[in-house]
């Protein structure tokens, strides 16, 4: 019954973007974010938007999925917009009663809100096209040079992987325990906040007990299959950088170059 849960945002289809190496995707996402912050005028945002739409198109992810990521942020967006609009000093544009809108305020409001939108859009593009397990793989590889300073890159990735493996199992278990306690007259729905928090104890205690038992079992099973940390370990899933990855790097480099040119040569204030 819980076969249909998808974790995080991952949109499981096949595409050129999905097949990119996760390490490359993480790095390119960061570069794109830098580009977003370098943008000087609306023309720059138009560039970024075009790029995002292009990637979305190539990734077979519907644009509405991209917009879905922005939806929860709408209040913060509106707040950012109006705070900047009303509380930035500079050349007055409009003055109605106690409301003063300045040229700088308008510019800042638009810039900050758009940055926020693209920030979410770019990272969404990555998480929509990269499964959590690939993400953790990519992170592990990217952070592995830090192992020399004892950064636990492998351990973190292993934890991530085990967590992903056990989330569906524990969800099923939660459902089962909840039903069992309901059969004993437990009430998880009514009462005030404190009562409701208290009513969670019969659910949480068995869940924790079970999680610890599973952890103990799993540790034994891993040991019996010769697990001894990340050293001298090989991987079934190997990450290979392909021609598509190079192409993607070039595309993002071009985007970055264009944005830098735009921020240098189009004077600020011309198109905002």
């Amino acid at each position: 019954m819980l076969n249909n849960i998808t974790l995080g945002q991952y949109y499981p289809v096949d595409s050129l973007v999905h097949r990119l190496d996760p390490r490359i995707k993480i790095v390119l996402t960061i570069v794109t974010l830098v580009a977003v912050f370098l943008v000087g005028t609306l023309a720059g945002y138009a560039l970024i938007l075009a790029f995002c739409l292009l990637v979305a198109r190539l990734s077979n992810v519907p644009v509405r999925m991209l917009l879905k990521g922005i939806k929860p942020l709408r209040f913060i967006l509106i707040l950012t917009f109006f705070l900047n609009l009303f509380f930035t000093s500079g050349t007055e544009l409009v003055h109605v009663g106690f409301v003063i809108i300045t040229r700088e305020g308008l510019r800042q409001a638009i810039h900050f809100s758009l940055r926020l939108v693209f920030l979410v859009m770019t990272t969404s593009l990555m998480t929509l096209t990269t499964s959590p397990i690939q993400l953790s793989d990519g992170m592990e590889m990217l952070f592995s040079p830090l192992k020399v300073i004892h950064f636990p890159a492998h351990e973190l990735a292993m934890m991530m992987s085990i967590a992903l493996r056990f989330i569906p199992t524990l969800m099923e278990e939660t459902d089962k325990i909840m039903k069992a306690q309901k059969a004993r007259g437990a009430d998880f729905e009514s009462g005030n906040l404190i009562q409701r928090a208290k009513s969670m104890i019969p659910l949480l205690v068995p869940l924790f007990v079970s999680a610890f038992r599973r952890a103990g079992d799993l540790a034994l099973a891993m040991e019996s299959r010769c697990y001894h940390g990340g050293e001298h370990r090989t991987r079934l899933r190997v990450l290979r950088i392909t021609r598509m990855d190079y192409l993607a790097c070039v595309a993002v480099a071009v985007l970055l170059a264009l944005v830098i040119l735009e921020s240098r040569f189009i004077p600020k204030g011309l198109i905002l």
Partner: protein, 287 residues
């Protein structure tokens, strides 16, 4: 107290790509003092059916009636009905959570809003029913008990609510022969003292020993419904539902096929033993 299912259908995740019909037009009436065994292979709909019996699941269509009253009716007090139908899930020891055996068993009665002294009385009575010594074990942390004991604590937690119908999903699963016999003995006693029992099980020999009626499920439907004698002589229907019959019934069938005059409705060890003895005596007489 009777429990009745009328044309119950249940569909999981309706309207999604994962839609799956778990129960299809199931009608079933269980009377007072019956001991019904619910059998079928995994995924046949037994567990879904069981969860309908005390209103944990609501049928997609159809009705569940307790003493003629619709469990999902507008004016039904579902909480009160739930107390009259006790449901023991598979591996019930995994739902223990209190720091002492007594407190854990008291959880159900407490939720019913009973007075303290009544709760205490019920806890003691429930512990005795599952053969746990109240004087020795009431204050013990349930997590320190053995697996079989923990399961009995969990069952006592339901018994303390004094249900008239007890529904159990594989109460002996995972226990060794001793633990299994202890649990089945408790269930037999409960039945004899008047509780209606509905038990899901895979162990045909346990069922042959205990049940007064067997309901066979297959593909979300009732494939057969009858006394153990009626059900165990239908090896064909059972096999189709992915189930075995008792070894005694199998032996009787094999002997009959080989031309020996063995009665058709044999399913217990005693019956087949007596049949073989009879054959033997006839042969000795003939010689």
């Amino acid at each position: 107290m009777s429990i009745e299912l009328k044309h119950v259908n249940y569909v999981y995740s309706q309207g999604t790509a994962f839609q799956h019909t778990a129960l299809q037009d199931v009608s079933l009436k269980i009377q007072d003092h019956e001991f019904v065994a619910l059998v079928g292979h995994t995924g046949c709909g037994k567990s879904t059916l069981v969860q309908h019996l005390n209103g944990l699941l609501k049928p997609t269509s159809g009705q569940v009636l307790i003493n003629g009253e619709d469990i999902h009716g507008e004016h039904t007090n579902r909480k009160a009905l739930r107390q009259r139908v006790g449901l023991v899930f598979q591996y019930p020891e995994y739902q223990l959570f209190e720091e002492s055996v007594e407190k854990d068993i008291a959880f159900g009665p407490k939720n019913m809003g009973l007075p303290e002294d009544e709760i205490h009385r019920r806890v003691i009575a429930a512990m005795e029913m599952v053969h746990l010594d109240p004087a020795r074990l009431a204050a013990v942390n349930p997590f320190e008990l053995s697996g079989g004991q923990m399961r009995r604590v969990a069952i006592a937690g339901i018994l303390a609510m004094q249900p008239e119908i007890l529904v159990m999903d594989e109460p002996a699963a995972g226990l060794d022969p001793q633990g299994r016999d202890a649990i089945l003995g408790i269930i037999r006693d409960l039945h004899q003292t008047g509780t209606t029992i509905i038990m899901v099980s895979h162990a045909m020999d346990d069922i042959a020993d205990l049940a007064t009626r067997i309901v066979v499920m297959n593909h979300g439907q009732i494939a057969m419904d009858g006394t153990p004698r009626e059900v165990f002589c239908r090896a064909d229907v059972m096999r189709e539902a992915g189930l075995e019959i008792t070894e005694a019934a199998r032996l009787a069938g094999t002997l009959r096929e080989r031309g020996l005059p063995v009665p058709e409705d044999i399913y217990t060890q005693e019956e087949i033993r007596d049949a073989i003895l009879r054959l033997w005596k006839e042969k000795v007489h003939a010689q």
